[in-house]
């Protein structure tokens, strides 16, 4: 009878237990027996007892008392005991346990054992759970084994070295020479281990990376050999020869070719060959192609190769296999910033993937769709995104809503569309939107002055349908309070007007106030709205008075306070009521406390770059848009911008036509001769002069003139200006960005200032230019202006 039947007996008994309690009982008995056996002297059954314990451990029961037994078994001269001992060490001991140090010596001895199978046990265990000290101790041993042993041991030593380098990066230097020589091996296992080791070394040490760049031709040859070789039964997987090794070589080539032209050139042909010849009908081939695409996109490949790679991704996108589509979208996400147009071509397929049943695919499609939004496709893409929102899985809703809001803010073709979109989102998924949505929407509504009537009608309709979505109800209440008179007038151009009486409107608000679904904040909104209506309606002011006085004794402190104050407004300060409750002015988007998603809104200090909120390129008001765009063009000489909104196609065509118009204007506005000019900046031969001209009571034109007294032209001149918060600034297009040498020409830029609050005017100007191939950037603050200023 083979002794291991006892282990299988025990497993059978445990599996036969009908309840959890019965199982626990069996296991407790067995563990007691095992503990007893451990305490006894060697009786030839130790390995089986440990194996039993390991099974029990896998079921989730504590097995720490077996740790010392592992140590003892590893030290045993018998192979079967060592085998189970090492297995136990890998399962029960990790570097955090003290007992793990005790096996260091055994491992050391076993690394020099005469049997390669014992050596391999030690290597495997060391690579699995070796602590940093163990690695330092045993590194020389591993280095020896890397050089002089058979391929069975070499490959294990290589992966052991990989583990050591991960744990103790300084050991990388020790292994580098051996790793280099391993590349000339023929055995695939050793080669694979060598490539993994070299990858690890290169990732951690830039000098080693330089060194191994010289190995690129060798790697290319190796890879070519694999791709072109005929059928090899030992390594063949679905027609691909050793895809595991191919993928690792491609990954190493990626690291070596990154940011290096020579290395990238050396691998161009190979990558093209792999990309065209690899059969992707099975997963193995697709895996190789995938890695190839990743490598092509990451190194400095020529454009033809990049196109080939994107086409492969496009093909993957149409594949029936969900995994392949997922992979394709993950890769496209990585390149959507750099190869935006190429990815745009596949927008249709990506949008179709939004309708896929699978959650992973949906998520990828959502990310990619949001990245592909541009001014050109905003309308159609938003339709798809809203459709997606209505059926998307709950874990993606918050992300979807915030993505939709960002896209709408950046590319809304009209204010009405913007408002409609936000309302649609609130109706569909109002519970998953961010808190800032309500104030943002309110701010948007106030700026869309001609749409107030339309908006309040729409919101009223939404309110009487459903009051469960808090964000929507809050905005609706606010609008009704503010624009209730437009609602009651019963006429609207943009949409079918509702015919409501004052009572109907007050009923709606009261429903919100009384409903248990309304949150305290919402009720606050409703109460304030009711109060505001007292100045906008004519007949039912008494009803409002009574509502307000009832809430004067509300349990909610916030509501109570509001009601009491409104009551006071009715009683003692009735003469002020109309003034207090009149229409609010347009809310300025850049005012403090107005958080705006991820724009720079959060930390606006007093000097803020002029209307240069990088997210917002609202093109609805044409004149503002043109000036804002020119701000962007004027302020940023370089076409490359980190945020995609500025690099995409939309601002370009608009601004080029607008630029012409404004340059005509500049012809008139150019250097005004009369006012004095002050030199504000003089450095490196560049002189910047400032002239002011008072146009109106609060408005002023400032002209900046730049001249160059050096021998070489100054290029790339850009001027940026910042003013105190209450001052409005508008920068016109500069006359150029090159200042000819020797003072032969000049560049002028006009800045329009409006200082309604008549604060003391300061202006900070940042000047950037390139002079004799070096880029200079300086900031100068002007605190006092020539006499024509205030």
């Amino acid at each position: 009878m083979s002794p291991s039947v006892r282990l299988q007996e025990m497993i059978r008994v445990i599996r036969g237990a009908r309840t959890q309690g019965e199982e626990r009982g069996v296991i407790q008995r067995e563990c007691a027996a095992i503990r007893a056996q451990f305490r006894q002297a060697d009786n030839g059954t130790r390995s089986h007892n440990l194996a039993k314990l390991l099974y029990v451990h896998m079921l989730g029961y504590p097995a720490h008392f077996g740790q010392m037994e592992c140590v003892r078994l590893i030290a045993s001269p018998r192979y079967n005991e060592k085998r189970v001992g090492y297995l136990g060490a890998m399962m029960l001991l990790d570097e955090k346990q003290d007992a793990s140090l005790l096996i260091t010596n055994s491992i050391k001895n076993d690394l020099s054992h005469s049997s390669q199978y014992v050596q391999s046990l030690a290597l495997c265990t060391l690579a699995c759970m070796g602590s940093a000290e163990m690695c330092r101790d045993l590194a020389p041993e591993i280095d020896r084994l890397l050089r002089a042993s058979n391929s069975y041991i070499k490959k294990k030593a290589a992966l052991c070295a990989v583990h050591m380098v991960r744990k103790v990066p300084e050991l990388g230097e020790l292994f580098t020479p051996a790793a280099r020589s391993l590349l000339s091996e023929k055995n695939h296992g050793v080669l694979h281990g060598a490539v993994v080791l070299i990858t690890e070394l290169c990732e951690r040490n830039p000098d080693t990376l330089e060194q191994f760049r010289k190995a690129v031709p060798e790697l290319v040859l190796m890879m070519k050999g694999l791709v072109m070789s005929g059928y090899s039964p030992e390594h063949n997987v679905a027609g691909i020869s050793d895809p595991f090794l191919q993928v690792r070589i491609l990954r190493l080539l990626r690291i070596l070719g990154r940011n290096n032209d020579t290395a990238s050139d050396a691998m161009n042909d190979l990558l093209a060959q792999v990309a065209t010849n690899t059969d992707s009908s099975k997963t193995a081939g697709s895996a190789v192609l995938y890695e190839t695409v990743l490598t092509v996109m990451d190194i400095k490949s020529e454009s033809g190769l990049r196109v080939l790679a994107v086409n492969i991704l496009g093909r993957f996108l149409l594949n029936n296999d969900r995994n392949i589509r997922y992979i394709s979208m993950t890769s496209l996400q990585k390149i959507v910033q750099t190869d935006h147009n190429a990815v745009q071509r596949h927008r249709g397929t990506i949008v179709d993937c939004l309708k896929d049943q699978d959650a992973s695919v949906k998520r990828r499609a959502l990310e990619l769709s949001l990245a592909l939004v541009s001014a050109v496709n905003i309308r159609s893409l938003m339709k798809e995104l809203l459709l997606f929102l209505s059926s998307c899985p709950p874990e993606l809703r918050a992300h979807t809503t915030s993505g939709i809001f960002n896209a709408a803010e950046r590319y809304a073709p009209s204010q009405r569309w913007h408002i409609d979109t936000i309302l649609h989102v609130l109706t569909t998924a109002g519970g998953d939107v961010r808190d800032e949505t309500v104030p943002n929407l309110i701010q948007l509504i106030t700026t869309a002055t001609e749409l107030h009537c339309y908006t309040v009608h729409k919101l009223y309709r939404a309110l009487i349908t459903d009051i469960s979505v808090q964000s929507l109800v809050q905005v609706a209440c606010w609008c009704i309070g503010e624009y209730g008179d437009l609602l009651l007038r019963g006429e609207c151009e943009e949409t079918e007007p509702v015919q409501v009486t004052e009572d109907d409107v007050l009923d709606a608000l009261e429903t919100v106030l009384q409903s248990h679904m309304s949150s305290p904040a919402t009720r606050g909104f409703a109460l304030t709205a009711t109060m505001k209506l007292s100045t906008r309606i004519t007949h039912n002011v008494d009803r409002i008075r009574s509502i307000v006085s009832i809430y004067g004794s509300c349990i909610d402190v916030e509501l109570q306070q509001r009601a009491v104050e409104y009551n006071a407004l009715f009683k003692k300060y009735d003469h002020m009521r109309a003034a207090v409750l009149e229409r609010m002015p347009v809310i300025d988007k850049s005012s403090p406390g107005h958080t705006n998603g991820e724009s720079a809104g959060g930390t606006i200090k007093e000097l803020e770059p002029a209307k240069l909120t990088q997210e917002i390129v609202l093109p609805q008001e044409p004149s503002n848009q043109v000036c804002d765009l020119l701000d962007l063009l004027g302020d940023s000489g370089e076409p490359f911008q980190p945020s995609p909104s500025l690099s995409s196609t939309a601002p370009g065509p608009a601004s080029s036509t607008a630029g012409g118009d404004l340059l005509d204007l500049l012809g008139g506005l150019d250097v005004t001769p009369a006012p004095p000019s002050v030199t504000v900046y003089e450095k490196n031969g560049v002189t910047l002069k400032l002239q002011t001209d008072r146009q109106t009571d609060t408005g002023m034109t400032v002209t900046l003139t730049a001249t160059n007294s050096t021998d070489g032209d100054i290029t790339g001149l850009t001027l940026q200006a910042a003013v105190p918060k209450s001052v409005q600034l508008q920068m016109k297009a500069p006359s150029g960005d090159v200042i000819p040498a020797h003072g032969l020409g000049q560049v002028t830029q006009t800045v329009l200032l409006n200082n309604p609050n008549k604060v003391s005017l300061k202006i900070r100007v940042r000047v950037c230019y390139t002079s004799q191939s070096s880029v200079c950037q300086d900031t100068v603050q002007i605190d006092s202006f020539p006499s024509t200023a205030w």
Binding site: S2, P3, R12, R15, G44, L54, Y55, M58, L59, G60, R78, Y79, N80, R83, V84, L87, D94, S115, Y117, L123, C124, C128, Y152, K155, K156, L159, C160, V162, H163, R166, H188, G189, H192, G193, V196, E234, H235, V237, D242, P243, F244, L245, V247, R251, T283, A284, S286, A287, Y290, R322, N323, I324, Y326, I327, Q357, D358, A359, S360, V361, R363
Partner: protein, 154 residues
């Protein structure tokens, strides 16, 4: 590199666990629980790739067992599907028409086979035949020892 490899039964029982990074017992239990919930909840024919914490999870179902592994962000997911396929083939090669019961009753053999195929979270040997030979020779060595042990000493 692979961070862990788990074999889960359809009822959520753990049949094999291999951890390639140091993880406390408590954390291991947590990961196993979360993997079980995530992977067993996936409908059939869904995408085999999931995202969890900062790892990519690749899982594949073979008969009544779910093979589930956690990858680092540089790893190739499609290749990992091939790795799982290869491991199943190796088990099949060793046990002959492998089924879940084989892995339950001979779990230590499953570990030994795994150790000839994956080490430190990376692939050790890409050839099926080499792994097979290594297992056979190790078995022979073990049996020789056991025979020697069971012989009476004089």
């Amino acid at each position: 590199m692979m961070h862990f490899l788990l074999l889960l039964s359809r009822q959520g029982k753990l049949r094999l666990q291999k951890w390639f990074t140091p993880v406390t017992e408590r954390e291991k239990k947590k990961v196993i629980r979360e993997m079980t919930l995530m992977v067993l909840a996936c409908p059939p024919r869904s995408c085999n790739f999931l995202l969890w914490r900062d790892l990519k999870i690749v899982y594949k179902r073979y008969a009544s067992l779910y093979f589930c592994c956690g990858l680092g962000d540089q790893d190739n997911e499609l290749l990992t599907l091939e790795v799982l396929q290869r491991y199943v083939e190796l088990l099949d090669q060793y046990f002959g028409n492998v089924c879940e019961l084989d892995i339950i009753f001979n779990f230590e053999k499953a570990y030994f086979i795994l150790d000839e195929f994956l080490v430190g979270g990376e692939i050790l040997e890409t050839s099926k035949t080499v792994v097979g030979i290594a297992m056979e020779e190790a078995e022979t060595l073990q049996e020789t020892m056991e025979e020697y042990m069971s012989k009476p000493t004089y």
